[in-house]
């Protein structure tokens, strides 16, 4: 309640000013030119906002940058995820932005659309250093606004012991094998062959890899394109896990990990954070009992890429220092150390050659998967369309909605929401 009221106030003040000004929504295609960054060390104060664990750990981590650049001071403000979106929106409206902020990849379109982000200086940051899928999340209307900081992607987790008994000792490689394995695991005594998100917030991140692997494209240059035979087929395949009772339609929060540890659930799709969670909950020796494989293939084995970017604001007081700090954070050796500090996967490809990443069998799978990933479109309205998609996925999984209807409904909703351009 309080949060809502605060938004209204911030916005209201902005409106009070703007209403007097008049009208004319022209295309937000402001032709931004990336400006270059001055040579030499960074100087002055650099204010940074970062969310969650990153916000808590980045401050101490930046000490090293200050040692290398004695003239610069990095001030990190940790922002809770819940409040971050509003805080950034209010800051942009009031032109009281920090120099640098972490930006969730799915917010990139919206915030770049406000015209508040500084285009990435091409003389300082090299695009080809990053995973292409990660770089795409920074690009809005053909201009990059920011730099990928860390990434996450979805892979398939499976119980090695159950999979071996089911006849898939190295895990499933494609759609048919995944289905066969889930069935065999259930026949072998597991309560559920697999867990797939049955709707709810963020379920699109589990569904879209199946759609992309089947060749579906959810957006073109002009807008959303959810309604395709490929999408319908992928949705039907996803739904079959629920109709054949291979996957639960309701799993309480926090129930997945213990069920997987007990062997009640044979497999699930998730991101890198689950490796640590499972080792923690499974106790000693559990690390040998589960494995990860890239997303099962259909036409391809494309997964979802998410994570966070770093962006500099046009209203930054210390633009050059800000970009230099980002450039420093993007160096492979710094990315490796940041991985050690925060367990966030490097967005810079070269960092993956380090032994701490390439030597770990599970991490290697994530590294391999990152070569075949897609990001959702950077339209300003993506978050809203994703929420609509989540609702339809829930209908698909829980109330047996026809897959073709789901694809059409999502497309209708997406079309009425528009791309925001």
């Amino acid at each position: 309640m309080i949060r809502k009221r605060r938004t209204a106030t911030a916005v209201a003040v902005a409106v009070a000013v703007t209403l007097a000004a008049g009208c004319g929504r022209d295309s937000a295609g402001t032709d931004d030119e990336a400006r270059s960054v001055a040579q030499g060390q960074a100087t002055g104060d650099i204010t940074v906002w970062a969310m969650g664990t990153e916000g808590e750990k980045l401050g101490a981590f930046a000490q090293e940058f200050m040692t290398e650049n004695p003239g610069a001071r990095v001030n990190v403000t940790a922002v809770p995820w819940d409040a971050a979106h509003q805080k950034l929106a209010s800051a942009i409206a009031a032109k009281q932005t920090p120099d640098v902020s972490m930006i969730g990849t799915t917010w990139q379109g919206e915030f770049a659309g406000t015209g508040a982000l500084d285009p990435t200086p091409t003389d300082l940051i090299r695009e080809d250093a990053f995973f292409p899928g990660a770089w795409d999340t920074t690009v809005v209307n053909d201009t990059a606004y920011g730099v990928p900081w860390y990434v996450e992607t979805r892979v398939l987790y499976y119980r090695k012991d159950l999979a071996a008994a089911a006849g898939f000792p190295t895990g499933p490689a494609n759609w048919d094998e995944l289905k066969a394995m889930a069935k065999a695991m259930q026949a072998g005594g597991a309560q559920w062959g697999i867990n797939l998100q049955p709707g709810k917030t963020g379920s699109w991140q589990t569904v879209l890899p199946f759609a992309w692997s089947n060749g579906a494209n959810i957006a073109g240059d002009d807008g959303y394109t959810f309604d395709s035979p490929e999408m319908t087929e992928a949705l039907a395949y996803y739904q079959s896990y629920f109709t054949e009772r291979l996957a639960p339609t309701e799993l309480a929060e926090g129930a997945l990990e213990p069920a997987f540890v007990r062997g009640d659930i044979g497999a699930f799709v998730s991101g890198p954070w689950h490796v640590g969670l499972l080792n923690e909950q499974g106790g000693a020796g559990f690390a040998d009992k589960f494995g990860v494989v890239p997303m099962p293939a259909k036409k391809s084995a494309t997964s979802f890429i998410g994570g966070s970017n770093l962006a500099v604001f046009k209203d930054a007081k210390n633009r050059d220092g800000a970009w230099k700090f980002i450039e420093w954070l993007s160096r492979p050796e710094v990315q490796v150390r940041w991985y050690a500090a925060s367990a966030a996967l490097p967005a810079v490809q070269a960092a993956w050659q380090d032994a701490s990443l390439s030597g770990d069998a599970n991490l290697k799978v994530f590294g391999d998967q990152l070569a075949d990933v897609k990001a959702p479109p950077t339209f300003q309205t993506w978050e809203q369309v994703a929420a609509a998609f989540d609702i339809e996925v829930e209908k698909l999984a829980k109330s047996g909605e026809d897959p073709a209807t789901v694809a059409r409904t999502v497309q209708d909703r997406a079309a009425s929401i528009g791309t925001g351009r």
């Binding site: 000013v17 929504r25 979106h85 032109k95 406000t114 015209g115 709707g199 309480a252 309205t381």
Partner: protein, 319 residues
């Protein structure tokens, strides 16, 4: 305190003694009184205007524009769209759904809360219950407990596998549903939880109301041969009417604005069956649809006014 206020207040005793019929002096003192009043009222009035009135007016203005979060730096892009946002609302499947859910919240939740509160207050007042202070604290505790802590406990209670509710049901051989995961039970579960969380506040008010009823009326009723139930119907309820009206209006507003319960317990799911209007507005602000969300807020505001008027008509003084 600001300087001028002090000056004016200090100056007052120094004023010449008032003479009856002395018109200029009277005018001066009237004027001075007005200044003093305004001086005291100014700090509050200024804060109220800037932080309460202005946002309300601005959000009304906002509700007739297509303002989005991406326009924040580019005010020229905002268009006046008239009542478009309002007409769009009623074609929005989710808004209609949330309005229906909220209506259920009000229609079921308000009477439930009132009955719980009145029953608890009567029991505490009648002396039937021992350890009165303990119960009073116990019933009031949910009101002051953080919703987050409450959510953790209730989610545990309602857990389909390990939850206390379903474990108890299993003892009597009933297989309980996944309370929060089922479209039929999620909304009722939340209503019960919301009523439990809020009735303590009303109970305290009802208790005060009950204690304001003179004892001799009950004695007179007893002499006339009225039983407990008749006393309750013919003495307690009529005399408690203003208190009940207050309770109904406050609870009605609270349930129309219900947000926290679905937010922390179900995120509006499953299948939007617990999405409330406030939650829908919150989401729309989150998506950056500021104009649209402001329009929805005003529809909610009108609904609140309408419900309150209705309650005054039904429960208010009739003579």
């Amino acid at each position: 305190m600001s300087g001028p206020t002090t000056t004016v207040v200090d100056a007052k005793p120094a004023a010449p003694p008032r003479k009856v019929g002395d018109r200029p002096a009277k005018r001066a003192s009237k004027w001075r009184r007005a200044v003093t009043g305004w001086a005291f009222a100014t700090p509050f009035t200024a804060l109220f205007l800037v932080f309460m009135a202005l946002p309300v007016v601005a959000s009304l203005a906002m509700s007739v524009t297509d303002l989005r979060s991406t326009d924040l730096r580019n005010p020229l892009a905002v268009n006046f769209v008239g009542l478009d946002n309002y007409t769009r609302l009623f074609g929005d499947e989710l808004f209609v759904r949330s309005a229906a859910n909220t209506l259920v919240f009000v229609v079921v939740g308000v009477p439930l809360t009132m009955v719980l509160a009145l029953a608890a207050a009567s029991a505490l007042n009648s002396g039937l219950i021992r350890f009165r202070a303990l119960f009073r604290v116990g019933f009031y505790l949910p009101v002051v407990t953080s919703i987050v802590a409450i959510a953790v406990v209730w989610r545990f209670l309602l857990d389909p596998e390990a939850g206390l509710v379903n474990n108890l049901l299993r003892l009597v051989g009933v297989d309980g549903p996944a309370w929060l995961g089922n479209t039929d039970t999620a909304l009722p579960s939340l209503i019960v939880m919301a009523a439990w969380r809020n009735f303590g506040f009303l109970m305290v008010i009802f208790l005060a109301g009950l204690q304001g009823i003179p004892q001799h009326l009950y004695e007179a009723a007893t002499l006339d041969g009225a039983g407990r139930w008749q006393q309750f119907r013919n003495v307690t309820v009529p005399l408690l009417r203003p208190t009940l009206l207050f309770g109904a209006v406050v609870t009605g507003i609270g349930f129309l604005q219900v947000f926290e319960e679905p937010f922390v317990m179900t995120q509006g799911g499953p299948l939007s069956s617990t999405l409330s209007v406030s939650y829908h507005i919150y989401n729309q602000f989150g998506f950056g649809n500021y104009g649209y969300a402001a329009a929805a807020s005003y529809v909610l505001f009108v609904a609140i006014v309408a419900l309150s008027v209705l309650q005054f008509r039904l429960l208010g003084e009739r003579d």
